[in-house]
Symmetry: C2
Subunit: 271 residues, 2 copies
């Protein structure tokens, strides 16, 4: 699941991610990797404990060098956000304030709207151990918090950045159901092709006395056709099935059947 690819589009835009007093270089690197996966590129650090640059961060970033190389360091949070127009603070703890509290989906939608309007935005993430101070939260416009398990709320900063980056990316898609690749296109079968499968199968079974007793044949045919019809097989799939039936129908076994094999079914399928 990895690899930069220089021939494909490198998305690098959107809100700045601001880490306040991060402690471990590994975490900063994982944050850069999370950002790069979802098209963010602007990382700002306020007073990183172990200094900057950091080889541990670069290593953990897993080749997100375009993020690491442009990371900027600030002495305090005010300087880190002074050029921005709108800032979210992430927090897991209730703050008992008047500041609006948003879900990641709503926050990402707001960030995308402001991005499209030309505003500069950012998202604050606090220290590994205890997050942001109330004074730091007060510098932001709104709060964003994650819908976590009430009895197990333990997101680290790289995970929190990953989720916000992912929601940001999704707001840029025309359709949340869109996927980067699709299955091989299949042509829907025509009824003529479906009827062809019915006749092929029923003739081969009839020739072996499957429809027994004869009075039950109409009901058995109904059931068999219902099983096939409800699947909505494509043209290609019908072709696969006809190949299977032809093979079973025409050719003798090349080796004797094992007794009690797993695939063995009841002889008569009208149960």
């Amino acid at each position: 699941m990895s690899g930069t690819n220089s021939e494909r589009e490198l998305i690098a835009e959107g809100p700045a991610i601001i880490l306040v007093e991060p402690q471990l270089g590994e975490n900063i690197g994982m944050v850069a990797r999370a950002m790069a996966n979802f098209g963010l590129a602007e990382l700002r650090l306020v007073n990183p404990r172990d200094g900057w640059p950091s080889e541990k961060a670069r290593s953990a970033a897993s080749k997100a060098d375009h993020v690491i190389d442009q990371t900027r360091v600030f002495q305090n949070l005010e300087e880190a956000i002074e050029d921005l127009n709108f800032v979210y603070a992430t927090t897991a703890r209730e703050r008992y304030g008047f500041k609006p509290v948003r879900s990641p989906v709503v926050a990402a939608t707001t960030l995308r709207e402001k991005f499209r309007a030309g505003e500069k935005t950012g998202i604050l993430f606090g220290r590994e151990r205890w997050g942001l101070t109330n004074e730091e939260v007060a510098l932001a416009d709104e709060i964003v918090t994650f819908p976590v398990n009430p009895a197990f709320a333990s997101l680290n900063i790289a995970q929190a950045v990953l989720l916000m980056s992912y929601e940001w990316m999704k707001t840029g898609l025309d359709d949340v159901a869109a996927t980067p690749f699709q299955p091989v296109e299949q042509r829907p079968s025509t009824k003529e092709q479906v009827f062809g499968l019915f006749e092929h199968l029923e003739e081969a079974l009839d020739a072996r006395g499957y429809f027994h007793p004869p009075a039950k044949k109409p009901k058995m045919v109904d059931n068999l056709r219902a099983v096939i019809s409800r699947r909505g097989f494509s043209e290609q799939e019908i072709s696969v099935f006809r190949g299977v039936i032809s093979s079973l129908d025409r050719f003798p076994r090349r080796w004797p059947k094992k007794t009690g094999s797993a695939g063995e079914a009841p002889e008569n399928g009208d149960a």
Copy 2:
């Protein structure tokens, strides 16, 4: 941002997470932590390279012991999913097959529907280095893939599990805009309270000759009232502002003003 809390509801239900031949105990632990954050609890391992149990996994799980303690190990993927009704395979690579490919949002919605209908489901995640084989993907019903940066697709298994767990959690919410806590409730102000603020402020300014020249006063009052009105201040906020105006209006400074201080504004606000 951490801590289990035994007095709050521990959510532990939903699809099984199946890791195929995971290598590092740390990754298994981070997967357990990601799952626990978003209410999943059933972890299955197919042939973990370094065996099981794993102290590294337990340590990285950050107290997600309820997941680690119940993790089950299987010899092969068939056994690991034999009791399930519906299985997704996660993959970042195009597979050129007929299997439907879904986005995380669509896959999570499908998993929630099947969960509510009483079906047992699972999600497969491949090896750290190279994911799932085609034969393993073939055992699943559908494929799920993430909307990543085309030129930087580098999600590790713990990140991929985090995103699917998060989408699963969201499908259980009545409203994606819901948040675990809300700001202090505020009462909308009445027009009488807004007019009270207008008068209070304008009287204090008028007493200082702010509205100058007098011919401009009506326009200046209009501008001032527009600035206040468009904010939609709450009752509590209007009360805060009236306290500020009272303080500025009634009391003398206790220390001399610094020259060139940052907060100084032009004397006349009608620009």
